[in-house]
Symmetry: C2
Subunit: 272 residues, 2 copies
Amino acid sequence: MRNLLMTVSYDGTEYFGFQTQPDGNTVQDHLEAAILGLTGEVVKIHGSGRTDAGVHAREQPFHVHTESKIPVDRWRMALNGRLPADIRVTDVQEVPLSFHARRSAKRKTYRFSINANRVPDVFNRRYQVHHPGQLNVENMQEGLKYLIGTHDYTSFASRHSTKASHVRTIYEAWIELDRSGNYSGSHEQGVIHIFMTGSGFLQHMVRIIVGTLLQVGEGKRKPEDMKKILEAQDRAAAGPTAESKGLMLWEVLYEQTDLTAGDLTELNNYET
Amino acid sequence: MRNLLMTVSYDGTEYFGFQTQPDGNTVQDHLEAAILGLTGEVVKIHGSGRTDAGVHAREQPFHVHTESKIPVDRWRMALNGRLPADIRVTDVQEVPLSFHARRSAKRKTYRFSINANRVPDVFNRRYQVHHPGQLNVENMQEGLKYLIGTHDYTSFASRHSTKASHVRTIYEAWIELDRSGNYSGSHEQGVIHIFMTGSGFLQHMVRIIVGTLLQVGEGKRKPEDMKKILEAQDRAAAGPTAESKGLMLWEVLYEQTDLTAGDLTELNNYET
């Protein structure tokens, strides 16, 4: 038995999220089918977490136990040959059996992208929410700062959340303004990327934070309102849930010791 | 009668090119249908040139004559509301009746994008040709230089070209290497963007140049072979035609006097 840690990038537009659902058509279904095709094994993969329908991932980790003897450096190309073009395995390595893609995760970073120009960018239309009209980015940055730290994020969680505790930690949160893709001669706002790094995120948490921050940017709320909303511990206090298409799982980090502990003598990292 | 100059960006994946074809489903068809919906006029638009099926455009100019009294600054949003999400009008301005989007064009720039990393970028999979394996970019740059100038480009033109002369001028040609999108920890080549600016391009010309340059990058040909291929004036001397998905019409430039001459007292540029 070996434990393989892989990372997968996907354009989530056509999928009902990462994790298997009763109605099918998830990223997990495609990955498990590709592994079945390669090894003949019916496996269950374990993602670093769920993603909502329409959400994208840049390098989402998952692990899978396998009896296959296929060398680690063959898996990536073999799986990609069996996957649709909008799902690509980007890395495969062997890790200790104790490693778990979700439970071992230390930090997760999400990015939410808002195109604030008057015309949507056709080439990124699947990955950006189009929000024309002036946004006060400085106020959005200030509002975001109130959310950093360890808090009960009930106000920013779906009412359908089944988690016992809504206490999470946001380590860092910041905004990057990208004006590089602007059309020549335009004097537009650019694309606003909102990043959040935390211990974990509740259902819809990033999207509700963004939906509320957009109200701050529009001047409908003040930056310091974010603090009051947090303290209310009431979903009704926050703004709407921003569209899933703007959200991308950006990065999941582990302790290096979790990846290399145990009796492994060599880290089978295809990349290095 | 007014003459409107517009620019349009499109993801060409789903279309049979810009210009109307017997089998339909072109960008021009959609633009003319949107104008009909807005003004009630059956019009024929004139693009800056054709693009092949599957080729993209960042800001392709076209002009159209209209009797409509709708103010210039209303057109963009009104047309975009009638167009599919992969076609967007980015600018509309009124120009002299003497202006012609194709005949007035002074310079055209194309970009061809090659992803040379081992795994394709799912988010740009529609706009990049995936070419894993080592490419000698310096040799490709050197080979490209032999094409700059005024030459007969028969070797790099489709055999179906019906042009009386294959003499054109390439003013500039250069390569930009973009490693920004690389996955963390990877030591990969990045994305190779090949740019060419010229007076005009023959059918398939950029794609055949790129297909040949890829052979230079792979070491199958030497950089100086580009000179011999050019001199052969024979399509058989060059390499294959690169896939259309990697090609994007990047920019078309006009003389400012062509845009503002005549009896116009004001340049109705929505952006400025």
